[in-house]
Assembly symmetry: C2
Homo-oligomer: 222 residues x 2
DNA sequence: AATTTCATGTAATTCGTTACATGATTCC
DNA sequence: GGAATCATGTAACGAATTACATGAAATT
């Protein structure tokens, strides 16, 4: 019934923070912006949106434009009227909640399921949190590497070539991610040495006042 | 109620084909042999074993070892030997079923969830099936790369640095796996040119007779 | 006019996990 | 004798999917 998930919820809040959107577009963004890692279907998305509305983090804004504007073929081809699209917008409570989520640095934040989506919103995350998440993930992966090496040493002889190759390739992937993280961490450190505040992708606050005064729809940017 | 999963079921059958085992050890093997990719818990494993027994693919063999073998703490008051460890053994039908599974080359076989476990049992898989699976996966990944590149070209400007970096790293991972697959495919091809049959890791049949004659317990190899 | 794409949703199912509950055996 | 590890299970939940159902708008 609830469908509030963690990853999906986080991503939805994060995307809607940037700009209001309706479900269909949201889903496309989820599956591209958020990269290779996750793909969500409508069956997950719509119930999730409903749940978020119920908690007061989103509001539905039926894109019900005045019907006097009967546009058989949409003059100017612009994004004016269509079927009752429901545009979702983040409320003030929603914003606050998302910022709470952004500031979390608990142990799951660097697990496989969460790390990708956390990283995707690093643009809105403070530098110290970014550092903790990156370093947390790196040491998590190093732990994993140690276990793999140990297990490999114990069982090397009993395994056939394919199993071994699978293991080898898996370890290499993890090692590669560790190197990637190390580069990112160093680059974060360099960024924080010079420059006290600005110049490092600020948290993107104040995109207008608390609520867009005029119609927040028509911002579907397509 | 059923819990027959696909991946877990496949892996259990495959491991038990090599030798009978009880649940606890099976789980350890699942989480090491099968590599980084999957970790299963008892909550999944035991119900799965039960289901496989019900279908006639496994039999439970209560490991009632001869109690003459005095252990220092031993029999006093207990029913038979130790606690009833349940050793699972593949039946003839189970073997047949697993071979059916091994010979499948449908489109899911190279999807993310299945590919790892399929590869882990390549040692028991015929060469032509191996080839189809490897090539299927490679072209699946190439498709994915094409989509990613297209989407990246469309949206490059709208994305912040972190999202972009995530995307870049994701693509590189996929490219790396493609190169890996290409090497494997070539090596398979080379292997099949010379040598008509032997010398390419035969399917590992006949590890003794149909059933291990002596007690299959104490094979816990630790 | 027909097809594709946009758009929203629900019900049932899948594939797993965590937390709980229990007890035996081995190590120190 | 106490802790760690071995060993087996069940109930409740979680987070998503697939398949289904519907219909409007744009493209051809």
């Amino acid at each position: 019934m609830s469908r509030r998930s963690g990853v999906l919820e986080f991503a939805v809040l994060g995307l809607l923070r940037e700009s209001p959107m309706h479900g269909y577009e949201l889903r496309k963004r989820l599956n591209t912006s958020l990269g290779v890692f996750r793909a969500f279907s409508y069956g997950s998305l719509y119930p999730c949106l409903k749940a978020l509305v119920q908690r007061g983090w989103l509001v539905e804004e039926p894109s019900a434009q005045p019907e006097e504007q009967l546009t058989p073929r949409a003059q100017a081809g612009s994004l004016a009227g269509r079927r009752a699209k429901i545009v979702y917008r983040l409320t003030a409570e929603g914003k606050e909640h998302f910022e709470d989520l952004l500031s979390q640095t608990g142990p799951d934040t660097w697990e496989d399921e969460h790390f990708g989506v956390r990283f995707a919103f690093f643009g809105q995350t403070s530098r110290d949190v970014r550092m903790r998440v990156l370093e947390g993930r790196r040491s998590r992966l190093e732990e994993r590497l140690a276990k793999m090496r140990a297990s490999l040493a114990r069982t090397r002889e009993r395994l056939d070539d394919y199993t071994l190759e699978l293991q080898r390739h898996g370890m290499e992937s993890v090692e590669r991610e560790v190197r990637w993280l190390t580069e990112l961490i160093e680059s974060e450190r360099k960024g924080s040495e010079r420059a006290g505040d600005e110049r490092t992708r600020r948290p993107a606050r104040e995109t207008g006042s608390d609520r867009p005064s005029s119609g927040p729809s028509d911002n579907t940017d397509r």
